[in-house]
């Protein structure tokens, strides 16, 4: 890639925080360093990955609203975690995490367990258990 071909696509997901470093060639074929603010294919691929995540979050939110799932499922999806990852933060088994994603089991959780889950998602227990909060998040 020649240095004047390094893409500078305005449409990117970098929020102006980041201009990545690329290695590109000068007219003799020697390498120089060039910054790039974004490249469309990469943005597309990244956006696609986030679409999958956001779709799952939205589905989890809907399930919580319908009473089919507990807020735990929503926050797990929101933090792009899996049951086993949540389990290792909250020091419990992934099977238990899966169970606690159902309202029936979630309602029976002790304060201590709830605190562990809240710690995992960096929120308070009140935020974790307050379903109304998810309603307001309506996009």
């Amino acid at each position: 890639m020649e240095k004047d071909q390094v893409p500078q696509d305005q449409e990117n997901l970098n929020e102006g925080k980041l201009a990545k470093l690329y290695y590109a060639t000068d007219d003799k074929g020697h390498y120089v360093k060039v910054n790039s603010i974004g490249w469309e294919p990469e943005t597309v691929a990244m956006q696609q990955a986030w679409d999958v995540v956001n779709g799952e979050v939205e589905e989890a939110r809907r399930k919580v609203m319908e009473g089919k799932a507990s807020p735990l499922l929503y926050y797990m999806k929101k933090n792009i975690m899996t049951p086993s990852l949540v389990g290792s933060y909250a020091s419990t088994l992934s099977v238990m995490v899966r169970l606690h994603c159902y309202p029936y089991f979630f309602k029976r959780l002790s304060r201590k367990k709830l605190e562990k889950y809240a710690y995992t998602f960096r929120i308070t227990v009140e935020e974790l258990t307050d379903i109304d909060l998810l309603k307001k998040n309506d996009r």
């Binding site: 890639m1 390094v6 997901l13 970098n14 929020e15 925080k17 980041l18 201009a19 990545k20 470093l21 690329y22 290695y23 590109a24 060639t25 074929g29 020697h30 390498y31 360093k33 910054n35 490249w39 469309e40 294919p41 990469e42 597309v44 691929a45 990244m46 956006q47 696609q48 990955a49 986030w50 999958v52 792009i80 975690m81 990852l85 290792s88 933060y89 960096r122």
Partner: protein, 335 residues
């Protein structure tokens, strides 16, 4: 306390951290040199290991290896520490900063809130350098960023003690002994030899340039095997592995070509420069591949013909790399 430290941006986090840390200790290695001597370039496609249901394709060797190989070849002694409790880890960090030593460490990208939100997935092998503490915040030199940044105590603890695979467990490292004398020539050839050897001569079909060919073969049938929606997801993941942050473009091929370019000057070997040019072309092919793959992802329509075309592109690239690294092996064999 702030350590007097110069930050230079780099493409790849691991080689960038090594380059920045060593500059502080008086050894000046540009990022591509670290990447090349540490034999960073590789390819592997592991269909049986899946992350989020998507098979792993890596354009580089696994995390930690570049650092290890590089310090072995130059003769640097590194001290690595692992901690059982966050409190202990942070105290140890403060002590090192007090002594005026910048410290490299492993972190999870998810908790580094100075990065754009779009990059913050759970990737637990990101390297950064902490070089100071001010008003309770830590000063961070993240090699992929243009400038140095800050991070709060809580975020840094989270990042250093993230769970999942692999667990950083608060790992931190710093050089304790810098060699006064080393043979650059020997280290360069050793790095080149290992890379070219691993790219062409490992008798396993899923690694090296054979691995790329294998991926091309599999990719051809993705839409039939797993359906359009998933095939596009897998393709998008492949683009991310190749082009996302830390690759320097074209799945590290450009960094390695930059290394060959610099090595050819250091070793006064014209052949290496020629190979650098060829690798640039191969990198350009990979960029084209990513460009068309991005098109397929954007239109969200795939028919087997586009996937067949993409597979052809990848296969041509694999063939070219096989030739390049074979030649590189022949050049470096006798050294």
């Amino acid at each position: 306390m702030i350590v007097n430290f110069t930050h230079k941006q780099s493409a790849h986090c691991e080689s960038g951290v090594v380059s920045n840390l060593l500059r502080f200790h008086g050894l000046d290695f540009d990022e591509p040199m670290v990447f090349g001597i540490g034999s960073g370039l590789f390819f592997s496609y592991l269909p049986f290991i899946k992350v989020n249901g998507i098979p792993v394709a890596a354009y580089r060797i696994w995390p930690g290896q570049i650092f290890k190989r590089f310090s072995e070849r130059i003769g640097i002694k590194i001290e690595t520490k692992k901690f059982s409790s966050p409190a202990k880890a942070m105290v140890a960090l403060d002590q090192m900063l007090e002594k005026g030593q910048p410290v490299g460490m492993l972190t999870s990208v998810f908790y580094l809130n100075y990065l754009p939100a779009a990059y913050r997935f759970h990737f637990n092998a990101h390297n950064i350098i902490v070089f100071g503490k001010e008003n309770g915040n830590y000063l961070v030199s993240d090699p992929v960023m243009e400038y140095t940044t800050e991070i709060s105590y809580e975020d840094l603890v989270r990042a250093r003690f993230a769970k999942g695979m692999p667990e950083p467990s608060g790992r931190m490292y710093y050089p304790v002994q810098i060699p006064s004398d080393y043979s650059l020539e020997k280290a360069l050839w050793k790095g080149i030899k290992q890379t070219s050897d691993h790219m062409t001569r490992i008798p396993v079909p899923i690694v090296g340039s054979k691995g790329m060919k294998y991926l091309a073969k599999r990719l051809r049938y993705w839409p039939e095997r797993i359906g359009d929606r998933k095939a596009i997801q897998w393709l998008g993941n492949l683009i991310r592995m190749q082009e996302e942050i830390g690759t320097g473009g074209a799945g590290f091929r450009f960094i390695y070509a930059a290394f060959l370019d610099q090595a050819s000057i250091k070793l006064q070997n014209e052949k290496l420069f020629n190979l650098s040019k060829q690798l640039t072309k191969s990198g350009d092919q990979l960029r084209d591949f990513a460009y068309y793959a991005g098109r397929v992802c954007k239109n969200r329509k795939s028919d087997t013909r586009t996937f067949a075309e993409l597979a052809d592109m990848l296969e041509a690239c694999a063939q070219r790399e096989q030739e390049i690294f074979q030649e590189l092996y022949d050049v470096s064999k006798s050294k």
